[in-house]
Symmetry: C2
Subunit: 221 residues, 2 copies
DNA sequence: CTAGGAAACGAACACCGTTCGTGTCAAACA
DNA sequence: TGTTTGACACGAACGGTGTTCGTTTCCTAG
């Protein structure tokens, strides 16, 4: 194709590139088409440019993902009403939900020590609430570690569940099937408790209650 | 190159392909060179064949990873000594360690309902121990959910820590640095508790104690 | 000894992340 | 005002990737 080099002056004033618009565009694509679709080329095309241009603002794809993670953590409400327990529960639940809303982002948070500025705000708030609950420094530090790990993991789970290809058979239905046809002698408990395993209920809230109860009742060392 | 088509008869009796040898070769490569090195081409080359040949036994790369995950779960000792609590703790810790030994494998376990035959054995044993502890069906079911989630997440963390490129500066040291230079007014707790946050200690064991204590003290619904 | 079917394979497709060198433009300086 | 400069944008390419297709090879069953 012989596209003559159009002066950018002539074009209808393209919005300038910046780290922020790249991150936001990335989140758009992620939400619309999933993690596999989030390629540097795709982001570049959405911004009407080539992939090379992105590398001025972003070191590599992982860097972009980390920035997207922190951006999506910006929307977590840091304070709420109630006792410190209720506030901690609400904060954790909100963070899980923020992570769960974008497929694959929570995985980025999982292996790493929180470092983004918004992630650190969440951690800071958590520590404050734990201290308000009367925990000593060591227990509070370990607790925030454990909570953050759980939050990231729960976020992964939630996003995996949210992002079910409507086209293919539900993952849960498949698993149910598999559990139903298991040899009862090799897996006696799984087989006999099949019903309870798949029964509905608010497991997320229960999990957070378990963690908080356990933290309160288990001083470090 | 004019390599004349050598009849396989003439070759020194290449070991035949099979799902098992592919999975084992995959684990070898993963342990030796990391997740990024685990490409279909690399596995094929290690087996002295082309990538296309693998697809007879393996549906796609993810399928291979899932098979590798279950294979590495085969080595988890399912029973030990002590009270049901101690046994549950040991089982969970052993599973975390098995997952943590192979970089990136735990991530595969994270989003999914356990379905592999070895994963199911672990789940079955956990359910048995929880029932031995006197929990009702619903609580035991939710507890195994929560424990499995934690185990997978802890495995990811451990493998991320194990797989530190010896070449580059330790991730922990970098985080310590970042925490040291944080604005104290924006992150008061993180800043003031910096010491406790990075202090050593057996956080993994504490985390499991927290979970088990919490489970015992938090009946479902 | 032959026919059939499963396994292995070579080549290719459509992408990917990332880098390099060149071009362009707006602000800073003379 | 004219010129320099340096940051940004971009086209093209490199060296890979997972996966598929059509063909060839080989073992086994008749």
């Amino acid at each position: 194709m012989s596209t003559p080099p159009i002066s950018r002056r002539a074009r209808p004033s393209k919005a300038p590139l910046s780290r922020d618009v790249i991150v936001r565009t990335g989140l758009d694509i992620l939400d619309r088409d999933g993690l596999d679709a989030l390629t540097m080329r795709r982001v570049a095309k959405a911004l009407d440019t080539g992939p090379a241009s992105l590398y001025v603002y972003v070191a590599h794809r992982e860097d972009l993902l980390a920035a997207m993670l922190d951006e999506s953590l910006a929307r977590v409400p840091l304070s709420s009403e109630g006792t410190w327990r209720e506030q901690l529960h609400a904060l954790a639940a909100a963070t899980v939900e923020a992570l769960g809303r974008h497929e694959g982002l929570a995985v980025v948070a999982l292996g790493a020590i929180p470092t983004g500025s918004n992630a650190l705000l969440v951690v800071d708030r958590m520590l404050a609430l734990l201290k308000e609950g009367g925990l000593d420094d060591t227990t509070a530090a370990w607790a925030v570690d454990l909570l953050y790990l759980h939050i990231a993991a729960a976020g992964v789970e939630q996003s995996a569940y949210n992002t079910q290809d409507a086209s293919e058979e539900s993952t849960i239905a498949k698993a149910k099937d598999r559990y139903a046809n298991l040899p009862g002698d090799r897996y006696p408990m799984v087989t006999s408790m099949r019903q309870a395993l798949f029964a509905p209920g608010d497991r997320d809230a229960w999990g957070l209650r378990v963690l908080i109860n356990g933290i309160i009742g288990t001083p470090a060392e």
